[in-house]
Symmetry: C2
Subunit: 363 residues, 2 copies
């Protein structure tokens, strides 16, 4: 096994940040790098990636193409990701060539719902009840342990509700498991939450930590519809959310921005739904409402720069522009800060952009 490369000093202005994944998150990361005088190189498995429009340094090749990954690593000073699902051996290969941030352990833990939730519980933090399901028999047994309805989720590669199925009986749980073609899964109990929230935070290699104010999030059809900051979280809940993010980031020896999705219970308690080891849709409002956005914060952390100030200087509502909603770009542009991602096709459920509306700071 090759040695892992580490970053011993900050990437200076003019240096190259490698970004694996060229979707909207990669695009906004590349633009944030440019603000700081850093260059962005983007690696994506398809042509016409949104991020390819904002940098001349780009490679389109499969994520398991060893030679292309090697060539990409050669032009980069440090490598990061817009998504957590890169094959583990591709990450290991990159890490043998150039510093990779966040590190492989954080990516591996969060690639798998079971290991992620087990990790969270090991920190003494609350999650929804969950049980591993590896067989049809497991599915029924697991359901019997739940308090009524539950959700079967594949352990890997789920996002925006993909690889998830709500079940209300042992038989349904078994059918869902078969529908997932027997992919290793977990059965997760429902949390009786009042609303959803998230916390987006950054940790630098020196252990310094900065969290943005946690927004309240509203989902529709398993896709984030809207993030509101300040939302319904109390000051104490907001502080607790930031402390949760810090505990997780510290335990992972994390470098970069991560997001923790939370359930805010009717009893006021916070339970952890999911960790995203990357910038997050619920942090897009930071572009307008903070002097340092989540994207710049991530670039600062991975490049070894000092973290920026996460202070919020306006209230904000971020709303996703989904599918054909983007056709109304002209009227959307009239009503707030519109971001469009340069995607060619407005497919159903596809995130085409987002809108942020600011209001004077209230708290």
């Amino acid at each position: 096994m090759s040695e892992i490369k580490t970053l011993t000093k900050p990437v200076p202005p003019g240096g190259v940040i490698g970004i694996i994944g060229g979707g909207q998150l990669g695009r906004m990361l590349a633009m944030a790098a440019a603000r700081l005088g850093l260059k962005a190189a983007v690696y994506n498995d398809e042509n016409h990636a949104p991020a390819f429009q904002v940098t001349p340094l780009q490679i389109a090749a499969p994520y398991d193409d060893r030679n292309m990954l090697t060539g990409f690593a050669e032009i980069c000073d440090v490598i990061t990701f817009e998504f957590e699902n890169l094959p583990s051996d591709a990450i290991a290969h990159l890490a043998s060539l150039k510093p990779v941030r966040p590190g492989q352990r954080a990516l591996e833990i969060t690639q798998d719902r079971f290991s992620e939730k087990s990790f969270v519980q090991s920190l003494g933090l609350k999650t929804a009840p969950f049980v591993a399901v590896t067989s049809v028999q497991d599915a029924a047994t697991a359901f019997a342990q739940m308090d009524g309805a539950a959700i079967l989720k594949t352990r890997r590669l789920g996002y925006d509700g993909k690889g998830q199925s709500k079940v209300t009986s042992g038989a349904e749980a078994q059918a869902a498991f078969q529908h997932f073609k027997g992919a290793p899964s977990i059965l997760e109990g429902f949390v009786d939450f009042a609303f959803e929230a998230s916390v987006v935070a950054a940790r630098a290699a020196d252990g310094s930590f900065a969290a943005f104010d946690p927004p309240e999030n509203i989902h529709e059809n398993h896709i984030l519809r809207r993030s509101i900051v300040p939302g319904r979280l109390s000051k104490a809940q907001s502080d607790e959310a930031k402390a949760i993010a810090k505990a997780i980031a510290d335990a992972l020896d994390y470098v970069g921005v991560l997001a923790v999705e939370l359930f805010v219970g009717k009893d006021g308690s916070l339970a952890i739904n999911e960790i995203a080891p990357r910038v997050h849709n619920s942090g897009h409002w930071t572009i307008e409402a903070c002097a340092c956005s989540q994207f710049e914060q991530h670039i600062r952390a991975v490049a070894g720069w000092p973290l920026g100030d996460p202070a919020r200087h306006a209230d904000a509502v971020m709303e996703n522009v989904i599918g054909a909603e983007a056709d109304a770009w002209e009227s959307l542009a009239r009503s707030g800060a519109l971001h469009l991602y340069g995607k060619r096709e407005a497919r159903l459920g596809r995130k085409m952009g987002h809108m942020t509306r600011l209001k004077p700071l209230t708290k």
Copy 2:
């Protein structure tokens, strides 16, 4: 003479904004276009232009290369500028191929200090006293009309104090004119100002208008050091500054962002120092302090989109990072929103980046 192309409908997302000039202003314009889902194509007369780092669509060729300008125009939906000094026939050539915004007349008037000041006076607006100087004899005659010290300025191609010389006698005025190799010039009387300010504003093709709050500006060695908003302008002065910008933009049938540099007299009156038919250094604070920056506002105007909201939601101080000051990037990054422009050499007096510090909104 070829017909001038006009924009009959907005450039839709995915369209291409052509930007002539690849310095920091072109770079920040390109990034603003990308936010809106528009592509930026950059034309610059040297390789390694800052703006070339933020788009794959780029041409490096002389500004009078007819064939390259033609090729550039072919990939663009509309063309704009980061600077006002493109040769007039190059502008005319581009305008015969694709819509050019702002239009040729605005550029021509503002390329020449004498025609610019005459135009401003024709609107009933105040300027410093000025006299055209076209001969050594003129220089002495002009000085005699001034009240003590004056500044000889070449009519064309001056910026950041270049092509300017302070003179305190008729003989010095003559010597300065000879030093400028007899280039057509103006002699400008000093204005006894309390401080300097500027107003950055946008006008759309439909006549709609939006002005940012005018900052107070502090210059050092003829280069902008710092812009402060709110500065020392009263509400009435701020409103007057915006009205001046509107009068100028309307009279020029202007499309895009323009900046008007102002002297705020000890008597409280505003005199116009200079018009810049483009985004302006004194508007950089809008990136953090407004939901729509001057760069996005310019792109919106030239692309035929609705103008954005120029409301300011924080107080701001913008400070340029000049020459070797950029070496301290790590400590600068600690103290605010740092922008670096990707320039390779930190030459003396060269603008390498800028810093914006935000404070809670006071007025």
